[in-house]
Amino acid sequence: MNPDTRKMKTDRPRKNPLVMFIHKLGSPPWFYGFTGKFVPWLWAVFTVLTVWGLYLGLIKAPPDYLQGEIYRIMYIHVPAAWMSMMIYVLMAGMGFIALIWRIRTMEIMAMNSAPIGAAFTLIALATGSLWGRPTWGTYWVWDARLTSELVLLFLYLGVIGLFKAMDEPRKAARAASLLALVGLVNLPIIHFSVKWWNTLHQGSSISLTGSKIDPSMLWPLLIMAVAMKFYYAANLITRSRVTLLQQDLRKSWTRDVIEDATPERIL
């Protein structure tokens, strides 16, 4: 062997920084420390964006010429509905990575996405129903969007239920990730079949959002949508760090983390 290459090998191996980052992210202590630094910032950005978006949406934006004031539910309903679908896709994607590479932090992130996604689905359903009362005259109509959201809620509940039903968390995470993937394959089929079923039975087809939207109404919507993404990121990381503490109760790094931390950093 060439002496030069041998010398290279004894040196610290140089790796692609991105690969290194992913490897480090798979290590629980590193993940805990790294995410702990910026999670308060995510919460801060979420708060600022939400306040700004709600101010523009609820106070500055003019009432809709067709729907009046009630359209203002849109600023929470539409971002929540978007989030509910985006989180399902991300959950299935992280579940896929967890299944293939068996990265524990990925398993934890996929599983902690499920309750957040279910919460957004619940918000989309509740606000959609409250929006329906003045526009349709009833709280519930088997409208294509509401029905899709309902099925999505059942899919989330299935993932959460399967995860909670198994005792061993890693096995449970893999099983629930597989279920999420199966659900992801089915999601477009469900979505289009429900849409098509709705037109088939000629249900009320009042669309909740107008086809053309004024910029003064669009901006708050976009700001709220971005704010909700920050909420998801912050909440997901907070939850995942707690799960790591719960699972690694007997490992030494958790003791080091909580003994080193000052009281305000623990919370």
């Binding site: 009630i70 203002r72 918000i123 509740a126 929006w131 007997r250």
Partner: protein, 51 residues
């Protein structure tokens, strides 16, 4: 029809759900930290008893 109650109710429900979803992990974090402390305390005591 007065729409204000529906708008307020929507935002109230959303706030409650999002707040609960954000606070729930903090509560379990406190419990987790307590568990880690008791575990390590028990371990140290058993080590002291051995020596």
């Amino acid at each position: 029809m007065n729409h204000a109650p529906f708008i307020w109710a929507s935002y109230a429900i959303s706030t409650l759900v999002l707040l609960w979803s954000a606070v729930a992990p903090l509560i379990s974090k406190k419990a987790a930290i307590k568990n880690i402390r008791t575990f390590n305390l028990a371990k140290e005591q058993s080590r002291d008893a051995d020596s």
